[in-house]
């Protein structure tokens, strides 16, 4: 019983992290058809900004959390402005490769300005404690992570339904030109999408930093790779698909870890990716492929 609850919480919190990151990828992809390889570096930027503001500014974790989220949002919007705007409307390959160039640049900037070794930033470690709930012992971080993700998804849903920008984002996923014909500024809509993706990356960054306690140039790479996988499972560009894919991936990872014999632990990654490959072959467009009536994008 104890074990079961712990493992389900594991799966939920893994899934929550992937869902947060995958949502950020999906919202950008849905309106720009851009596979944002540089999303991991947005997270890493959040990590470094924690290290910097944490030593220079304040030790107050709540202010620092706001700083991390704002830093991620800012860098995502700036990246769109300086790098992705020039390739807006280009084909998938061009966008993908640009993002991938941006990712290399940022990683090496971190290397150049920071250090190849981890930079300590332990301000969020306090989130991770062992809670004893009756007979069950669980990690507080995992509970926060799951709860915050659920809250973020609800907030995003409300934003997409209630605000004009939210509606524009949903509409732009289907027909960006028609959104512009309604007078909405393309640059604002795209910047809005990047800001949201940065916001979600910032939340994920807080939890990643709480677990790692240090920032490193490559720290965003693996989580984002998994989030890509989550997007693919759910159907690239579909927001519900990203959430579903994220949680399915979390469950799959934990299941593989449980089922695989101890000696084969190193292969967990391989098994998960093999599952993904199979899902792709079974359903090339993902489990929930997005409604797409008009293919032509801005």
């Amino acid at each position: 019983m104890d074990y079961l609850i712990q493992q389900s919480l594991n799966a939920l919190s893994f899934g929550a992290e992937y869902a947060l990151i995958a949502l950020g990828l999906a919202i950008v992809f849905s309106i720009m058809r851009l596979v944002n390889f540089a999303h991991g570096e947005v997270i890493a930027f959040g990590g470094y900004s924690l290290a910097v503001t944490g030593t220079l500014l304040t030790g107050n974790p709540w202010i620092l959390m706001a700083c991390v989220v704002l830093a991620c949002m800012a860098v995502a919007v700036v990246l769109e402005r300086v790098a992705f705007r020039t390739v807006r409307g280009a084909d998938l390959t061009t966008g993908l490769l640009t993002a991938f160039g941006v990712s290399i640049i940022l990683q090496n900037l971190f290397l150049l300005l920071g250090s190849p070794r981890p930079v300590a930033a332990t301000q969020f470690i306090f989130l991770d404690r062992t809670l004893t709930l009756g007979p069950v012992r669980v990690s507080s971080l995992q509970i926060y992570e799951t709860a915050v993700t659920v809250a973020a998804i609800v907030a995003l849903l409300l934003f997409l339904r209630r605000t004009t920008l939210g509606m524009a984002l949903r509409a732009a996923a289907l027909d960006f030109e028609m959104v512009r014909l309604c007078g909405l500024r393309a640059n604002r809509v795209v910047a809005g999408a990047f800001a949201i993706s940065g916001f979600l990356a910032g939340l994920a960054c807080i939890f990643i930093m709480a677990r790692r306690g240090s920032a490193q140039p490559h720290m965003g790479f693996d989580p984002v790779l998994s989030a890509f996988v989550a997007c693919v499972i759910g159907g690239f560009g579909s927001l519900p698909g990203a959430v579903l894919g994220g949680f399915l991936l979390g469950i799959a990872e934990v299941a593989v870890l449980i089922l695989l014999p101890q000696s084969a632990g190193g292969l967990a990654h391989a098994v998960v990716f093999a599952l993904v490959a199979l899902i792709l072959v079974w359903r090339p467009d993902g489990i929930l492929s997005p409604a797409r009536e008009k293919g032509d994008k801005l």
Binding site: L112, F228, L267, V281
Partner: protein, 347 residues
């Protein structure tokens, strides 16, 4: 007996390949005339990369789909060739725990290479059967899955692959002259593939998949052919790598290498073989210069600071700049013969 007839595009292709071959030979010649001994290593690595990038062009360039799996196939070939060719006595030391008697046999270099090509090709075919059914993003993710899976296996089965440690004791079989021949041959093959019927259909499908299908192009088949053909180039690169260095490890066969080679292809322009060749040469030369800066050299009496990450920064900068200002790379859709012949016609 009728010789296979070449159409005019294919004859042009032979001319272009010959010109590119001359460029490659000129580089080698320059090294033998003026180069220094330490540059041999760099030149060899550049040519191995050239094999990979030309192979990438065969699939990515003609099908216009980004794939990141090449490092995996190269690694498979390198390990197969290395394990087969290393003398059993040496393997008793380097791979003491290898299963299935892997450390109890040895093959001739030729047989080892043939086996490596065969295994890589078969894996290419098996993955290709799935891969060729997917669409753009799906294919890219699938290729990443291949890369991650193969890398995990290299790391996990330390009894066979030694993981991140070196598998040592591989005899040195190839050197620059042989590799140069391989590179020139690869250029000819890639260019002939580009101008072949299959290559033409593949390029048509990349430009307009629906239209190509309507004209009766079997998109699945042509993609599969290109995919398998490109894995054979990667196999050659892996063999050339393993047969020269004496030791191999899993680390180079992962994302960093993938990024480097893809950047080479993008800079030159993925739609042409000439682009692949020039991109590789330019980035290799540029990176050597940047790496020299990176170590903090003394310039005009001033000691520059050590700048770790500069080469990566330059690489990323090149990719972004090329995508923004020259989305089709330096060469675009043009081959070297287009440049030469245009100049002659114009003059």
């Amino acid at each position: 007996m009728s010789r296979p007839r070449l159409n005019s595009a294919q004859r042009r292709g032979l001319l272009g390949s010959a010109l590119l071959g001359l460029v490659v030979i000129a580089v080698v010649g320059a090294y033998y005339l003026w180069g220094e001994a330490w540059q041999a290593r760099i030149l060899y690595a550049t040519f191995v990369n050239l094999l990979v990038v030309v192979g990438l062009q065969v699939f990515m360039g003609n099908a216009n789909i980004t794939s990141f799996a090449h490092a995996a196939f190269m690694g498979i070939a390198a390990y197969t060739a290395a394990i087969c060719v290393t003398p059993a006595a040496m393997k008793a030391v380097s791979l003491p725990d290898a299963p299935w008697g892997l450390n109890a046999f040895e093959l001739s270099p030729l047989a080892s290479a043939a086996l490596a090509v065969l295994i890589t090709g078969v894996l290419g075919l098996l993955t290709g059967l799935f891969m060729a059914r997917l669409n753009g993003v799906g294919m890219t993710i699938f290729s990443i899955a291949i890369l991650v899976i193969v890398h995990s296996i290299f790391l996990h089965r330390t009894d066979i692959f030694k993981g991140n440690q070196a598998l040592f004791g591989i005899p040195k079989i190839l050197d620059l002259p042989q590799l140069t021949l391989m590179v020139v041959a690869a250029i000819f093959l890639a260019r002939l593939f580009r101008e072949s019927r299959t290559g033409l259909m593949l390029r048509a499908a990349a430009d307009d998949e629906v239209g190509a299908r309507a004209m009766g192009v079997d998109v699945f088949r042509v993609r599969l052919v290109a995919w398998v053909a490109s894995t054979l180039f990667f196999a050659a690169a892996g063999i050339a790598y393993a047969f020269h260095l004496g030791t191999i490890s899993a680390r180079p066969f992962y994302f960093n290498f993938v990024f480097l080679t893809v950047a080479m292809l993008i800079l030159g322009g993925l739609r042409s073989v000439s682009g692949a060749v020039f991109g590789t040469l330019l980035i290799s030369i540029g990176l050597e210069a940047v790496r020299w800066l990176e170590t903090g050299p003394v310039l005009a009496g001033v000691k520059l600071p050590e700048l770790l990450g500069l080469s990566g920064l330059a690489l990323g900068g090149v990719i972004v700049a090329v995508m923004a200002f020259l989305p089709n790379g330096l060469m675009g859709n043009r081959e070297i013969d287009d440049l030469v012949l245009r100049r002659r016609n114009g003059g």
